[in-house]
Symmetry: C2
Subunit: 353 residues, 2 copies
């Protein structure tokens, strides 16, 4: 009947990687409508509802699947609902925008109760309140196995102040909010305790001293306050991206789309004390966590060198390097002055919180 | 760790039904932004990007899960991609709007190849071309089992011409596009052949004479041409809804939201010859298929009685009844003049194509 003869040629999805796959699949599509300013390729799509609008409409969507993006052994349903909204809002902030509305579709198997779904929605509501957005649609549907969340977030941004990944210029400063690798280490901690306590009745996981890492994984924030502070200081970044795939991968996105290189400095990378501490305990490298750990939902952005003084006065931001010519590539400079090239590597989907 | 203590009280999702569940979950949410004109409760959310816009932005989202919404034993991947877009576009047309953009997120297990995903995207592209919309985002992600599609479609509609479910008035004519129950009977045919050919190598299903029913299930259309013809004729319906849950359920939505009753006539229901024929073969009632079969993606709408003459000149539309006072309820009148009350019944999720 339907799909029997379709497997004559078989390319494994893993061969292409996440970004290669999306490129391959979407290459044949062309834009038809004048209302579409930018389709795929940035943190959110950019739409112009009418020619006289002073603001663009932003649109971003994310799919969260049980067993891939979250593990309900340790991920509280309320936090899951909260995080799903944060992920979408972070994409809107990464365009220098303001999130406004969201839709949520949930696929849910019979093992879940109404009360459990209410917990998910409680988290969604808390996030809607924290980020000032309206839930405007979506639905729930049966599923054969597990929990699926699909979140779409819309937003707005002044047409003169939109920030793409593609606007970084030579000598621009590379800035980052918050710290790196904590969400990733939080995930490792949760996974460790899950393994250690497997089959144990009434388990008591050991999280003492690492509450910060857990919070970064289980209840992340989107950087609303940074976007607002930049606006107050009248600073418009030249390029920006949400750090969801890890600094290395996301910096490469900016450099590729801005046709430039970058130099970042190891001793400038903001890494929390707890991240160092747990990395030591687990015999892991905190710098690898900082570079390749996903889920931070910090903002990586560039500003003109002339704004160095001003950017220092905005709280919670570190300058970690600068934009270079494309030919010099993208590299991490260690304290002894040697350069480690940063090259593409797909975002690892497992384990993920 | 996470969700152990959350099951103290347990209400089964089935106890509330699809619509009751959504009401329960979304009741605590309130609208905060002036840009949000209407949240949940119609075919699409209604947004006003800026006060000077002459058009509203529309937003609708759907989640399609393997084993619940489609069965890949007989559902070709290309058609699945096509149908996912049609479902979203139909929601936009049901607001009297024009679809413009879409995002697609896919969750896919390792059993799928790149070539199979390309088939899904081919169908999406064909639908984007047929309905004039742009693919502007989304992603693919690993999944543990099966295929998940999440589609969000945006659109626009003149602020003066938007049509809600809530606008039907006493004596309005109830109109319907196309015919009813064919998609549902197509699904039954596919399920019958699936059962009959289970375990058969090189199966040859018997579909002769029922190609129309298959097409209605596997490659449905959204009623773009009707919306365009209504616009040409300068007719703005008073209320409208996409027929996705079956005529009975969707007519009840209009009556509930418009605070009115309705009388529809059995001998006016448009039912295709093939629908009758297969129903007879399967000893099923074609009227039940017409009233309760989902997936038709026709438009159900109301127009003022004064437009009776004009609406007759628009092709592909049947007038099946009229709006009555709320107190008279919603009923189907049979040819012998007796009234059968139409009461709420949840949309059945299984079997579904």
């Amino acid at each position: 009947m339907g799909n029997r003869d379709t497997e004559e040629k078989r390319t494994e999805i893993a061969e292409l990687g996440e970004f290669g796959l999306i490129r391959e699949l979407t290459a044949p599509f062309t834009v038809k409508n004048k209302e579409t300013v930018l389709g795929a390729g940035d943190d959110a799509a950019v739409l112009l509802p009418c020619p006289s609008c002073e603001e663009y409409t932003l649109l971003t969507t994310d799919l969260l699947l049980e067993g891939i993006h979250f593990d309900l052994t340790y991920f509280p349903l309320k936090h899951l609902g909260y995080k799903a909204v944060v992920i979408g809002c972070s994409d809107i902030y990464a365009m220098n925008g303001t999130p406004l509305q969201m839709t949520l579709s949930i696929g849910v198997s019979a093992k879940f109760s109404v009360e459990q779904l209410q917990e998910v929605y409680e988290g969604v509501r808390a996030a809607c309140d924290d980020y000032g957005i309206d839930l405007v649609g979506g639905d729930t549907s049966a599923s054969l196995t597990g929990l699926t969340l699909s979140v779409t977030v819309t937003g707005k941004v002044d047409r003169q102040k939109i920030v793409y990944r593609s606007g970084a210029k030579l000598h621009d400063l590379i800035c980052i909010t918050g710290d790196l690798g904590a969400a990733y280490m939080g995930l490792h901690l949760l996974e460790r305790e899950k393994r250690a306590l497997k089959g144990v009745k009434d388990p008591h996981p050991h999280f003492e001293g690492y509450e910060y890492l857990l919070r970064r994984q289980l209840k992340p924030s989107a950087r609303r306050e940074v976007i607002e502070e930049l606006a107050s200081a009248d600073i418009v970044p030249t390029a920006m991206i949400d750090l969801s795939d890890g600094l290395a991968s996301d910096l490469l996105h900016i450099c590729k789309q801005s046709h430039c290189g970058a130099r970042i400095y190891l001793d400038r990378l903001p890494i929390a004390r707890e991240t160092y501490q747990l990395a030591e305990e687990l015999h892991a490298d905190p710098v690898v966590a900082a570079l390749n750990g996903g889920d931070d939902h910090e903002l990586l952005f560039t500003v003109p060198l002339s704004l160095q003084e001003q950017i220092m006065h905005v709280g919670g931001i570190e300058v970690i390097g600068h934009i270079t010519a494309k030919e010099t590539g993208v590299a991490l400079t260690t304290p002894d002055g040697s350069d480690i090239p940063i090259t593409a590597q797909g975002h690892t989907e497992t384990p993920k919180g």
